[in-house]
Symmetry: C2
Subunit: 145 residues, 2 copies
DNA sequence: TAAGATTGAAAGATCAATCTTA
DNA sequence: TAAGATTGATCTTTCAATCTTA
């Protein structure tokens, strides 16, 4: 193991990053459950499908929704039971399967979105000045590259 | 629901924040498992105990390690089985229980720390300029308050 | 009654093995 | 053989109810 390690300041920032993530996502998840909407996991799947134009291959959806492959199979099972999505085998490559959002799925997303977006605004976005936004774009771009 | 919502830029930043968190923590967790060290969850518990001087009440540990109360009970069960921690009832308030790090726990932490810290350096800290650090301190302080 | 913590039952996530098509 | 995806078995997390002490 290379013995290079973060300095104290950067390690503290990392801890704050973890804390911020946990606090915000816990509250976002709670908000949806309390209001009787889809769970945050389902919401994330639906929003990715919506943003992609309605359908995505399971493996692409897995990456975009930040859910491990085998977990996603189970998530999509449950979502299919609730008629939020349907699976369709691809005609191009018959190994691939598309998860497709249904009208029911779109309705559930529309119902949940205002509350969720208000949460993102309240817990995250409203705290960011324009300077903060520029800084975060710069930093996060480096972290995800 | 107040219908105030984040603008497109801030919503994209939020998505990047989620992506960065998932990518980094997944890899940090993998690193530890691959090398045969304690899991990232155990590591987080051990580091909090260490930083607190060796022991913490279950409910305080729960907040610091970002683990829900009832989950923590199970985590500490498993850690006790591996002799990484021991529970001790408080003498002040006999409702409280302290989780205490053991010599075995300290050894496991020492063994895992170089690899973990190298991961934090590689995936997070090394990407941050001094300007970035200042910006993140400012932003994250607002988010966790 | 309430705070601190744990537990049984149930839900969710994960690994390794498997299935199907390329 | 490998890519895409799912599944059985297992592990972990979570909720609601419970236990203990204040």
């Amino acid at each position: 193991v290379p013995r290079r390690r973060p300095d104290r300041e950067r390690l503290d920032v990392w801890q704050q990053f973890l804390t911020a993530h946990a606090r915000i996502t816990d509250e976002l998840a709670d908000d949806l459950v309390q209001a009787g909407h889809v769970s945050l996991v389902f919401y994330d799947v639906l929003i990715q499908l919506q943003q992609a134009g309605g359908k995505l291959r399971m493996s692409d959806l897995s990456e975009l929704a930040l859910i491990a492959r085998s977990s996603l199979s189970r998530v999509v099972d449950r979502m299919e039971n609730e008629r939020l999505v349907v699976r369709k085998r691809s005609d191009d490559d018959r190994r691939s399967i598309y998860a497709c959002i249904t009208p029911t799925g779109r309705a559930a997303l529309r119902a949940a979105a205002p509350l969720h977006l208000y949460g993102v605004q309240r817990l995250f976005a409203q705290h960011l000045t324009d300077t903060d936004v520029v800084a975060l774009q710069r930093v996060l771009a480096k972290l995800v590259s």
